[in-house]
């Protein structure tokens, strides 16, 4: 799952007092409020197949009020179409509040751990013995307009994601297309029915091309959810999609705001995780970091019911003191990569030279993050805590900033003064400062650097083969979080040929074949096989430079209750939030 904010080393997080943490003894859970060191994510999530609604009440929860969520430095999703939802921010909001899919995550209030529970389906799916067929039964629940949600609509919703022209960079293009048995070249409902998805009353059965044991995890995505058969054409539907969750969309202004109000058709008894505490939600995108921090610090009437999706580096020490329990450090399986263009920078020594010339500490600091706390140096494609991960170093040892080594590698490649071209956002002070540090680091390491100022969505640019700016670049980046705790959601989207987030344009048949092969292996052999593939890619091809493993910092005002982090999404856990009355 992408991080929308791609250009910066991702703006917005923190600088914190290391010395001041001595007194804090407790808080051993994943979402502790003691940001002194990097927290490794969980590798497994529990599954509770028989969980039933209504969801357990949050202690002290009261109803009413409006929750405002300020989102600094992130323009938010371009549309709300369930087939397109593949960003941490957009999905964490929509899946928690407006869009139900077959399965969902719930946070165990005792342990803080995430667990898989049923959503629209009555259970977590019933696979056959070899995981090639999954059957779900859809509950009798309604859309916001009162119409019943049918299995046909789920089928239509899934088929729709096969349309590679409309939903180019949707998650269905990876997981549905490569797993569901819809026949070669199937591109959605305009090609007729997908023979691999059959409906019988409220039962829906998915036939797979091969074993797909992660179908329950994949079913948490909106791309495995219902879409009404009528009036659901893209892009109009993406502006005002029908809601099935506890809240419905009142108003959506792209890059500005999203307002949600209560959906009276939502049935609490059918939903084991969501609540309907607040009357209204207002999400404000692209907020000023400094203003958001100052608002939270002010503890004014507005601030008390405000949640911040990212805390600024300058004020973290003060925010931590002021917010108390409503200051959380959230882990997740998230990694930042620098991706040299595999078709242009063909010499692996140059790619290694870039890695040695990446001035980690200075870039992280200038970008408003804390080295060793919210960002730690990375070496493998798979993040820590992911099962099957093998600790290895692409160049024998951990990459640190070593300009001499980079120069030597460049000399070996016979490319002294090699020119790197990348984009940066010159309108965002932190992104710009980080880019300047990076430039300085590369220049000291014997590169020449050309930075192109670019202020729009970087992923859209990198995915645009026509763009003359994109054609000029030879260094891109990607920030990626696992879609569920399996390397099959990290490695294929990032290195398989032709994937939208494969921003290095890496393409090797050996790797592509191996990715297909691993899916057919026995379940227990898959995780180690991914670890081996990770090592093979890193040591033999080294197409992408893992620059940092990530943690995030979130905050909320004093009248917000139930404020916790979502370890599955690496985001705020919106389902439990309420306004203390």
């Amino acid at each position: 799952m992408k991080r929308t904010k791609s250009l910066a080393v991702v703006a917005g997080f923190a600088m914190v007092t290391l010395a001041a943490c001595g007194g804090d003894g407790g808080g051993g859970n994943a979402g502790g409020n003691n940001p002194s060191e990097f927290i490794n994510p969980e590798s497994e999530f529990g599954k509770v197949a028989d969980a039933e609604g209504p969801a357990p009440e949050v202690e002290g929860a009261t109803t009413g009020g409006t929750i405002t969520v300020a989102i600094p430095g992130d323009p938010g999703p371009e549309d709300l179409d369930p087939a397109n939802g593949w960003s941490v921010l957009g999905n964490s909001i929509q899946q928690a509040l407006t869009h139900r899919s077959l399965v969902q995550f719930r946070r165990d209030q005792e342990t803080g751990a995430m667990e898989l529970v049923p959503d629209l389906a009555t259970d977590l799916g019933r696979p056959n013995e070899d995981f090639t067929e999954w059957t779900f039964t859809i509950k009798d629940v309604n859309w916001e307009n009162g119409n019943p949600i049918t299995a046909e609509e789920v089928k239509y919703g899934v088929e729709r994601t096969f349309d590679s022209e409309t939903f180019t960079s949707g998650p269905g293009q990876v997981y549905s297309v490569s797993n569901f048995d819809c026949g070669e070249g199937y591109t959605g409902p305009q090609d007729g029915d997908c023979p691999g998805i059959t409906v019988d009353g409220q039962d829906i059965t998915f036939k797979m091309q091969g074993p797909f044991p992660d179908m329950d995890f994949w079913s948490t995505f909106m791309a495995i959810g219902p879409i009404p058969l009528e009036n659901s054409e893209f892009p109009a539907y993406g502006r005002m999609p029908l809601s099935s969750g506890p809240y419905k969309i009142k108003e959506f202004r792209v890059n500005e705001s999203l307002t949600l109000e209560k959906n009276p058709e939502w049935d609490a008894a059918s939903d084991p995780a969501r609540h309907q505490y607040a009357d209204e939600w207002v999400f404000k995108f692209d907020q000023d970091q400094e203003k958001t921090d100052q608002l939270l610090l002010s503890d004014s009437a507005d601030a008390q019911t405000t949640v911040s999706n990212g805390l600024g580096a300058t004020n973290v020490a003060a925010l931590r003191d002021a917010l108390g329990d409503n200051f959380i450090q959230q882990t997740g399986q998230c990694v930042s990569y620098r991706t040299p263009d595999y078709t242009k920078i063909t010499d692996v020594n140059i790619r290694k030279a870039i890695a040695w010339g990446y001035d980690f500490e200075n870039i992280v600091l200038a970008g408003g993050n804390i080295p060793g706390v919210t960002r730690i140096p990375a070496s493998t494609i798979m993040p820590p805590g992911m099962s099957g991960r093998k600790e290895y170093f692409p160049d024998g040892e951990q990459f640190t900033y070593d300009p001499e080594k980079a120069k030597a590698l460049l000399a070996e490649a016979g490319e002294e003064g090699y020119k790197l071209t990348f984009i940066y956002d010159d309108s965002d002070a932190e992104a710009k400062a980080a880019a300047e540090q990076e430039k300085k680091g590369y220049e000291n390491a014997g590169f020449t650097v050309e930075m192109i100022p670019y202020q729009e969505d970087a992923y859209a640019l990198w995915d645009d083969a026509e763009s003359p700016i994109n054609a000029k670049l030879n260094l891109r980046s990607v920030n990626w979080c696992s879609d569920w705790p399996s390397a099959s959601t990290m490695i294929p989207p990032l290195v398989q040929s032709g994937q939208p987030y494969n921003t290095s344009y890496f393409s090797e048949t050996e790797v592509d074949d191996r990715i297909k092969e691993i899916a057919t292996l026995p379940l227990e052999d898959q995780a180690p096989a991914w670890g081996d593939l990770d090592e093979l890619i890193g040591t033999k091809y080294f197409p992408m430079i893992p620059t940092a493993y990530r943690n995030d910092l979130f905050g909320a005002g004093s009248k917000i209750g139930g404020f916790t982090g979502d370890a599955a999404m690496s985001a705020i856990y919106y389902k439990d939030l309420f306004v203390i009355q």
């Binding site: 600088m15 600024g312 500490e361 200075n362 600091l365 200038a366 080295p371 540090q437 100022p453």
Partner: protein, 339 residues
């Protein structure tokens, strides 16, 4: 020496006659041009002289920014945040302000986050400010004077057209246009980042000038309207002097005083406008600019006030000095309005 509060001076002495207060009043009358008289008055204005010194000081800083920076051994290159900033506490510099005393290596301190030297930013920021304001003033005055002269002297349809254009430009909101043009330029020059920086400066000068010439054009037109009926112009016409020569040789010298006044008041306005646009993020984003530093520093106003004060004082002192100097010049050339 005290001067009469309501002396003959208030009536104006824009003539060859010597000032009665002048120390050389008793010496034989010498030929002095009106401007020389004005300059004499200016020289005796202490405030004006002080302001002129300040302005010259900034001009020298702007011209020799590079040399001064290397004299202090500072550059505008980003520093090493991991070594120079205390990121485990509040991200402030380990040496120098705000928490420690003076740091001789960085006399103005270093910026948080980037560890860039503040003195270098300030020096180059002064250069940007002066360069943009001066160029915009020159362009705006040339455009304004030429259009004003032509409109006033030629009259008729030409006057109507030029006056209409002047009014049209007066109605266009300057800030809005600047906000609209910035992203267009970004799009246009994104592919040539080396030219982008120059184009930002050039376009900013263009925008400032395009919305700054109307005042001068109207002023000059008004003056020309009254001057062109005077005898010396009529006689020049009678002896068959070409129009262009009348404008340049006869009219223009008589307009020097109002033009000088207008220019001296335009300069500080442009400096403030440049900083304002940079603060809004649509001015100079490449290279150094005081407005940009103020924008960055406003986040640290509690923790690191010096970082904010440096560019702010630069702008306030320079704009104030230029304004006072402009007022003094106006008083000097037009004694009737003397305070």
């Amino acid at each position: 020496m005290s001067t009469p509060t309501m002396g003959s001076e208030t009536l104006g002495h824009l003539s060859d006659e010597a000032d009665p207060d002048d120390a050389v009043a008793k010496t034989p009358v010498s030929g002095k041009s009106p401007l020389a008289i004005a300059a004499g008055r200016l020289r005796r204005d202490k405030v004006a002289m002080a302001c002129l010194t300040i302005v010259l000081f900034f001009v020298l800083i702007a011209i020799f920014a590079g040399q001064l920076a290397s004299l202090f051994n500072v550059t505008t290159q980003p520093g090493n945040p991991s070594q120079q900033l205390d990121f485990i506490n509040d991200g402030m510099p380990l040496k120098g302000p705000p928490h420690n005393g003076f740091d001789p290596e960085h006399p103005f301190g270093i910026a948080p986050k980037t560890a860039k030297d503040n003195l270098a930013s300030w020096l180059y920021g002064a250069r940007t400010s002066m360069l943009i304001a001066t160029s915009a003033t020159v362009v705006a005055s040339i455009v304004g004077v030429v259009l004003g002269l032509v409109a006033g002297f030629v009259g008729g349809a030409v006057d109507k057209v030029i006056s209409f254009i002047t009014d049209l430009f007066l109605t266009l909101p300057f800030l809005l246009m600047a906000l609209v043009i910035a992203p267009i330029l970004n799009e246009r020059f994104a592919l040539t980042p080396d030219r982008y920086q120059t184009m930002q400066v050039v376009s900013l000068i263009g925008i400032l000038a395009a919305f700054g010439w109307m005042g001068i054009a109207r002023l000059v037109r008004g003056e020309v309207l009254s001057l062109r009926e005077r005898e010396f112009i009529l006689s020049a016409r009678v002896i068959g002097m070409p129009t262009s020569r009348i404008m340049v040789k006869e009219l223009l010298p008589n307009l020097v005083a109002p033009i000088v006044v207008a220019v001296s008041l335009m300069l500080p306005a442009f400096i403030a406008a440049e900083a304002g646009l940079a603060f809004l993020g649509v001015g100079i984003t490449q290279g150094e600019s005081w407005g940009q530093t103020i924008l960055l520093a406003s986040a640290y106003f509690e923790l690191y006030p010096l970082y904010l004060w440096e560019p702010l004082l630069g702008i306030v002192v320079l704009v104030l000095a230029l304004n006072l100097l402009g007022d003094a010049i106006r008083d000097a050339v037009d004694p009737k309005t003397r305070r």
